[in-house]
Symmetry: C2
């Protein structure tokens, strides 16, 4: 097998692991309330790039990690991500009808169910991350705190509020970056940070490098999101293309133009790769994910 | 001061303590995103019975409790409660315009802000409960897990889903109780359980009694809620009266009649008091809160 094939097969295998993990950690549809559990499984299972869980996994490869803590973090960070998508797609927010190639939750079920599904998914994330693992409890409490800070009003939810407040507004690149640092960046950094916390043998310098990698990666991810919203069609994206344009949302493409936006993402990824260069072969999957972020088609 | 006055003054003082605590633990309005933080403070501060934080405090009086852990639990459980009210009041759920005598969040702001406010409040609860206190980390991780289980799809959010699925349906008393055990009971039990976990010196028998107390109290609370929805006017209630009738929701009053429902609540409270009798004077405030639950006017 070539190295490229090997990496691709790692990504597929890690996605399959995430899927199994989520299927196991989500309440069964046979449990009351059936519709809520069905909806929670509908939005969480069966697809997605699983970038955040894969980042947890890849970061945890840098040290000696507790497998149960890694799995808990993978599931928890994805549940937070999916809850945010479910609420973000609702009519009062982005009003989107397609996600991961399927009808969004409020379309497939109804708005009340989508509201509760997002709510319960968020709780489920903290439920899973607070169950005992092989890590010392102090360390695990830090993981809970890290995820909460990344998801809250000074992180992801705060970024969505800023996004909402700025539809139709002109934003400078600094303002746009601040918004995305919170909206998507915070959770991507948390994913890498959780993987690092699951290792008991990483020093401060390693953590600092990992965080710098994640910070660049998070920004690049969003720049590419804007590029794809412009370039790709709905079928490839699995969500409605051209939404940002239509909603008059500030984007990197509007601010910089299409080609410079793509070049900016490539620069950010080069910086991310530089940060993890000292880790050598152990960081192969982190490198792979960084390259995937700029090369992805959806 | 008479004993009754003394107890009343404890309740007022504990409510004031809760208010100060929440004001301190909520992000400032001066912090970006301003509107989100303003809305989080709007829905959380300035009122409410604070039953759940008071239950944490009163349960923690039974043993030797860590003050920081007690305060964290008080704030966290109230934030979970308030987030559920904010989402429950939204048009896709109960569509209510009045709460604690003020316009509900989506009326005062807008639906998107109400959605994000509830989301961010839930996260804030886990953020606060995962910060280091004087308790061993194992114990604190258990507190996080308890709150998450109580709030999730097998607890509070699950109860709301069952409620939603049964509007217009006839329910047996057993079905109604199952719903309320999840919808309001789970968080009330969690409040008492968190207070107990904050003590390092309570034995299993004490915990079991506390949980049995909380279970009866939670049911009685809901029965009285149904009674008040029928009896009280909107001004006294601080939320729209007669909503359950109008929405064709199953209630204890419809199932049992008004006077028998009130008698049922009184029986439950008597059982709750019996459970905590062995604690003697240390349980004075738990007794006070049980009596408050049946005597309350809103």
């Amino acid at each position: 097998m070539t190295q490229a094939n090997d990496l691709k097969s790692w990504q597929h295998q890690a996605q399959a692991q995430t899927e199994l993990l989520l299927a196991r950690l989500m309440p069964s549809e046979n449990q009351t309330p059936h519709t809520l559990h069905q909806a929670m499984r509908y939005v969480t299972l069966g697809g997605g790039k699983r970038l955040r869980p894969l980042l947890v996994l890849a970061a945890a490869e840098l040290g000696s990690a507790d497998p149960a803590a890694v799995e808990a973090a993978m599931a928890a960070v994805e549940m937070i991500h999916v809850y945010s998508l479910v609420h973000d797609d609702m009519p009062e927010m982005d009003n989107d009808s397609l996600r991961r190639g399927k009808p969004t939750c409020h379309v497939q079920y109804d708005q009340a169910t989508a509201l509760l599904t997002g709510d319960a998914l968020q709780t489920q994330a903290f439920d899973i991350l607070s169950r005992p693992t092989g890590l010392p409890a102090e360390r695990q409490l830090k993981m809970v705190a890290l995820l909460a800070q990344a998801a809250g009003s000074l992180g992801m939810a705060g970024g969505q509020a800023i996004d909402l407040a700025n539809v139709g507004n002109a934003m400078t690149q600094a303002q746009l970056e601040h918004m995305h640092r919170l909206k998507t960046g915070a959770l991507i950094r948390a994913a890498v940070g959780l993987g690092a916390l699951a290792c008991t043998d990483l020093d401060d310098e390693a953590r600092r490098r990992l965080d710098a990698y994640a910070e660049r990666l998070g920004l690049a991810f969003q720049v590419i999101d804007d590029v794809l919203d412009c370039e790709a069609d709905t079928a490839t994206l699995g969500k409605t293309a051209g939404k940002d344009q239509e909603a008059d949302k500030p984007t990197y493409v509007k601010l910089m133009g299409l080609a410079p936006a793509r070049r900016y993402a490539e620069t950010l990824i080069a910086e991310a790769l530089e940060q993890i260069a000292p880790f050598g072969g152990k960081a192969a999957h982190l490198r792979q994910l960084a390259e995937f972020v700029v090369a992805r088609k959806n």
